[in-house]
Symmetry: C2
Subunit: 313 residues, 2 copies
């Protein structure tokens, strides 16, 4: 059930044909501040502005010819809808994106600009699922899940692979935890490409389902998820949870103010635009500085899609 190294190699081939090999940035100031060496993998510079492009490309690329012809469908108010639209365009596949009618115009415009066909619905999960199912029935399109899909996880793994190829001696690899698709991919990358490289996740206290899931051994959910890290409000799934259980050694939870402060530090010191979810692992590192002292730490900055008119600082 657990993917093999050859599966990741195939994903790299598939994904890298249509993505940027994003840069790995360092900041001597942030190294001084943290007491460790931090290597930031800048997926905010990825096509459509987030790592999600990688998973979408791998999932669509692995469809059969017949499936490709019928198209793909997903429901998303965030980055995955854009990723599926752009990845589909890259591969010549029709993409149906179900979006809540109250989604920001800028996100709808982005999906449209990538050629995605938008169906609007009410903003409840039930309405979104119903709309997706209707499209599946009518068109035969394949449904793509943003995080609980092995091909998506393998696609996401390619970010960690590239980071480890550039810096093979990382002691620790970190990513945020939302639906679990990125951290599971990162864990696979560390396992197959790292040199005793530990994987640590960052998660908001306000949506700490993954932290609780690791403790209890079953997939927990969030009753509420009032976190600024809007990409991290979802819970794990049966495809990524076993990988996370096996290879993620720790999840560090952070307060909302810590997320904003970490985000501000990265903006001010590194001069790059990241979205709040991206700042969570660095916030976790800052919170538990002592634990990272002297280590080489890789952090996946997951994305940079944020409305610059509505900043939390």
């Amino acid at each position: 059930m657990i993917p093999q190294k050859k599966d990741i190699e195939a994903a790299c081939k598939q994904v890298q044909a249509f993505t940027h090999r994003t840069p790995v940035l360092q900041s001597s100031l942030l190294n001084e501040l943290t007491g460790c060496q931090v290597f930031f993998k800048c997926e905010n510079f990825q096509k459509m502005g987030a790592f999600k492009m990688r998973g979408a490309l791998n999932a669509i690329g692995n469809l059969s010819e017949a499936q490709r012809k019928a198209g793909v469908v997903t429901h998303s108010s965030g980055n995955f809808g854009q990723a599926v639209a752009l990845a589909s365009k890259s591969l010549g596949v029709t993409a149906y994106i179900v979006m809540p009618e109250n989604a920001p115009d800028v996100k709808k415009a982005a999906v449209k600009s990538y050629g995605g066909i938008i169906t609007e619905c009410e903003s409840t999960l039930t309405a979104r699922e119903a709309a997706s199912e209707k499209i599946q029935k009518e068109t035969g399109a394949t449904f793509l899940h943003p995080s609980n899909d092995t091909d998506v996880i393998l696609g996401n793994a390619t970010a960690g692979v590239e980071l480890l190829e550039a810096h093979p001696d990382l002691n620790i690899l970190m990513s945020p935890i939302g639906g679990g698709g990125l951290i599971a991919g990162t864990a696979l990358a560390a396992h197959y490409y790292g040199n005793s490289c530990k994987v640590i996740g960052g998660e908001p206290f306000e949506a700490d389902d993954a932290y609780r899931s690791l403790k209890s051994g079953i997939i927990e959910t969030n009753k509420t998820a009032h976190t600024i890290a809007d990409g991290l409000r979802t819970h794990l799934g049966d495809k990524n949870f076993p990988i996370i259980q096996q290879w993620v050694s720790e999840i560090i939870r952070v307060e909302e103010e810590e997320i904003v402060e970490a985000m501000k530090l990265i903006w001010e010191r590194m001069k790059i635009v990241i979205e709040p979810s991206s700042a969570v692992p660095f916030a976790a590192l800052l919170r538990n500085k002592d634990q990272f002292k002297g280590q080489k730490v890789g952090i996946i900055l997951s994305g940079g899609n944020i409305d610059v008119k509505k900043l939390p600082f």
Copy 2:
């Protein structure tokens, strides 16, 4: 009087020992929007966050042993003070920085963190000059001008040299125009390292002294300079004006709203933090799109030091 290629080569050696070779970024989205290929040289990622580090390093590096021992002095409320402080630290020289007492705390803190010795004074030019002269008399320190100094200009030229080394076939090189030190350096780089590479400056209508100077043939000043591009409020000097006259083919003026819009586009599309002055050449390109159609255009993004709590959008 005009510097030679060997002077730039010497500056490169001096400057590159203590600076980042900053990346050159492209955006397919912005290329589509502009109809040309734009290559952004990211001096916002430079040490202390701006190209000014280059000029300061070259000027201090070229001092005699005796001069170095006595230290350097400048007055600045902006990036040049920080640049002189950090460059001095890199070269083991004492830096005296005169700053207006109402300068933002964050800028004073930055100068201090680089080891600069701050003297506060009233915020008038007279008070700043008086304080600098007093320090020169008392310590024997050498005064450094932020833009009208041949070594500073040569240091600044190294950014354009690196951009042309990476992309030798640029048709046009652009930079903002404030005191004239960056555009003069950029013009030298284009002349000695370019292949028929034209140099075009961007300047706010609100402080269009350089535009008027090129027309009249004498150095003009601004009666007011109410521009958001706070690095561009100063006027040219006798060291950089002859270079600008000889090798800058055009200055395009832009409105304040155009600067903000260009800045927002770069933040949102390229996911990088730049200060308003940096956005001026790209605003100029957007204003006169037709003129740039199909060309390869290099733009020096001069810096990224901005208070992210006080954005114009």
